[in-house]
């Protein structure tokens, strides 16, 4: 069963959350029930017939006969909140037919999907695909020439020129790179437009990012002479897509993965849900991404704070962070106690240095660390149990909140280190693991 925090994190938006909360009372339901596989209920709506709502507990999947396009809908959220807070209200013990039918159909469908995946793929039109790739390669080469010209012009004139700080300066270039089918480069360029005047020392930061970008295009031009992993890394960063099949053909890491952080960001109505998973046995980290176009929400099979025993397959590349689950259907369970936080500031810096030594473009370094907030020279820092600290960039209200939870003692925290400051994305409070991004509590 999920905790109220995890149900909150599932809500697609604030209004669904509120509506779901209001539905978490028995009065709004005709019948309510649960067994080991599912929660179900008949929700009294405005229509003549109640809605049939069902949540499958194995993989947290939802079904509701209401017309809402939100996912999960308020009825499913209400049912989950009831299950989390007031399970005794779910009195029915035997699932009605419509519940078992849905659950059985799901199991069948899953079997079918895995059979289909196992079946050999139809041979694609190799010839046409090769032509498309060649065409794309030409366009990217053109985009890269433009980018290099732009970078060297900018450096010759100096980054102190006023137009460098104008948002349109980088945006126009980013658009040209999108046209050149190099979305990776476009994204890096777009990020540059946020730097000017963002914090003291932004000039150095901008210069370093320009250097990084230049390094990337220099490496891309020499790609034929690079070893295969580095070539794959560079191609992906420029914007060559990696086929899912190609990833699935690789060897994965089977482990018990702790879903340490989850962050949902929006860009151009595309939601990206990014989760850092930590391998409890091997100590690996993996970044699993899920996407959805608004108003839909990324479907996350594994709740934050759960542990899932499964195989994650790293993308090709050098010290790759991103990984793909072999299957979504592995069951997640909530650990009875939080896994021990393995990092210290020192091990995090060590790992960061190792990673950067192999892959200078990696900018997000995950951590799972016992630490507490403090101030150093008037600025927020996080101090680990050995007394070592790094700068920390707290979000609104985060400093007081973490101070209150810690009360002068280190607690498990997970987040990212970007070489300049730490960001905390999830923390523990009274044994429950929660996302700092979720609506408060």
């Amino acid at each position: 069963m999920l905790t109220p925090d995890q149900v909150t994190a599932l809500a697609p938006d604030a209004s669904s959350f509120k509506a779901g909360r209001d539905l978490a009372v028995a009065r709004k339901w005709q019948t309510l029930g649960k067994d080991s596989r599912a929660l179900w209920g008949l929700a009294l709506g405005s229509g003549k017939n109640p809605y049939q709502t069902c949540v499958s507990l194995d993989d947290i999947a939802f079904k509701c006969s209401c017309p809402s396009r939100k996912f999960p809908c308020k009825h499913a959220l209400g049912l989950l909140f009831l299950g989390a807070e007031n399970a005794s209200a779910l009195t029915e013990e035997r699932p009605p037919d419509w519940v078992t039918e849905w659950l059985d159909a799901r199991t069948k469908r899953e079997q079918k999907v895995s059979e289909m995946e196992a079946a050999p793929k139809k041979a694609k039109d190799e010839d046409a695909a090769r032509k498309r790739r060649e065409k794309r390669g030409d366009r990217i080469d053109g985009g890269i020439d433009q980018l290099e010209q732009f970078l060297t012009d900018t450096i010759r004139g100096g980054i102190g020129q006023s137009e460098v700080a104008a948002p349109g300066h980088w945006e126009a270039l980013a658009r040209r790179l999108v046209d050149a089918q190099a979305p990776g480069l476009a994204g890096m360029v777009r990020n540059l437009s946020f730097l000017p005047h963002s914090e003291p020392g932004w000039e150095t930061q901008l210069l370093h990012e320009l250097g990084s970008l230049h390094l990337l295009i220099a490496a891309y031009r020499k790609r034929e002479s690079l070893d295969p992993d580095l070539r794959a890394e560079v191609a992906q960063r420029v914007g060559w897509p990696v086929e899912k099949e190609e990833v699935l053909a690789r060897k994965g890491i089977a482990d018990r993965w702790f879903v340490a952080t989850r962050q949902i960001t929006e860009s151009d109505r595309l939601l990206t849900s990014a989760s850092w998973l930590f391998a409890l046995d091997s100590g690996h980290w993996a970044l699993v991404l899920n996407f959805a176009a608004l108003p839909a929400r990324p479907v996350e099979p594994w709740p934050l704070g759960s542990v899932v025993e499964t195989e994650l397959i790293p993308y090709p590349g050098v010290a790759p962070d991103r990984a793909l689950p072999r299957t979504d259907s592995a069951p997640a369970r909530l650990p009875e106690s939080l896994p021990e936080a393995p990092d210290s500031i020192r091990t995090l810096l060590r790992r960061t240095a190792d990673t950067l030594g192999r892959n200078p473009w990696r900018s997000r370094h995950p951590f799972y660390l016992a630490a507490q907030p403090a101030r150093h020279a008037g600025r927020p820092v996080l101090v680990d149990t050995t007394g070592e600290a790094l700068p920390w960039k707290p979000g609104t209200g985060e400093e007081d909140m973490l101070a209150s939870i810690c009360a002068g003692r280190a607690i498990p925290l997970a987040g990212e280190w970007n070489g300049r400051h730490l960001s905390v994305l999830a923390a523990s409070n009274s044994g429950s693991w929660f996302s700092l991004q979720a609506p408060p509590p």
Binding site: P4, G158, G160, L207, G408
Partner: protein, 507 residues
Amino acid sequence: MNTPSLTGTALLGTARMAELPPPSHPLLATPWSELAGQESARALLQAAALEKAALHAGAVPITDVATPEPCPEDRLPVAPPGAVQALARILNGDYARNLHEWLTAAIAARVLAPPRILPALLEKGSREKEFRPLIATVSGSRGPWLARRHERWGWALAAGQHDEDSFALDAWETGTTAERIAWLARERRRDPAEAAKTIGESWATESPESREAIAALVATTPDPADIAWLESLALAERRQAIRQSARQALIALPESDYHRRTVLRAGTLLEVRRKGLRKVITLQAPAAFDPLWHADGIKEKPPTGTGEKAWWSRQLIAAVPLDLWSGILGIDAPFSHALDSDWRETILLGWLDAARLPSRPDHLQALLELLVTEDLKKFTAPPDLSAVIREMVAPLPSPLQSDILEAIAPRLEKPTALALLANLQPAVRSRAHPRLHTLLRDGCRDTQSTLTRPDAAALASCIEPSAIPDFLLALSKISDLTASAEEFARTLEFRQTYLPHLTPRND
């Protein structure tokens, strides 16, 4: 200017660069030398990439960080998750009026607010003073620990703190107002005479704000040791709030001059006399305004419509707390006694004003029972009945509020009674308060009612926890709930999300 940095050069542009600036770290010397022959813009960009990688890979921890002294461990557990969710919703603005109940229920259940929500609770306490004592209690030891983080949370340091050692010794000399008042409260408990001496000595140098805070503290806990400075200094203050606090303190101290002269005036004003067959409380109106009254806050000029003598008499009566009248008049139950019909309004209004001073609940109830039977239309300056009741009942603990309202309910019009309940939200227990219970039951079902939704939510908060399921069952049988009844039901359901998790414990 120092040696040119990479950034400094980049700001100006390589068009003006003579040669690549030296590397920022000796380790970069070898790769740097390979950049020498390259075109200057490319060389600078490559140098920047090197510098970034070196900088990020070579980051070192900060070592000399002072961590805060750990907060003492709490012995009480944190409220269970269901109750915590409800508190989070309350603080987000849903069902905001149920905060009081949540806090009192948590205190009775001997659980603490979760640390994650504490900053939001402390903010709430900074904005709304009446929650401070409750918030301080559910904050456990974290409250005072966190209070040092922000000046505006300073009250949490004073409110929850009875720990003798936790004050800085120089709190009185150097502390914030909140810390000084907390220090003073402790000193007054420890040695009232010494504390009074301290106040007297520093009074002249205190700001008006801190004088007001000191007087307000003493008004709630008057001590004979304070008489000297109260009479000589506080009564002569310019600020009305300070004088009022001083009078409230002094009237509770029979040894004070102020008490003596005020009671004396009251005794010459009202007395019990035989009139025909009955004993009646009569009023001997003063012939002229005594200039000495000025100093005791009696105003000479009456508001329009009120006679001078009635005005002076009302104020002289109002200066004496309800609890003293039995002694002054020499009768047991002054508020159910017959009154001089010529001065009936003046005496009643005077007593109603006096009810603002601390009084025993049974005296308040007796006065209210007298008031609700009164035909206020006959008054020249009729008071607003529900406002008066609200003001008199509000300071009392919740059980007494409902007892008093239960006693006077039959005399009140239904909408007035419901509005009072909605405003005060006392706990109504079905068995002890059958009239109020019926009032609530009919009020939420009444389809014609003009009850507003906020009032409906407030009424739902009066119902005792054990009666909630019955109310909900009754409501579920009504097919078409009005908007206010729906609000009533929703509020009951909301209370039901946390109350079962917060059952009172006595250990």
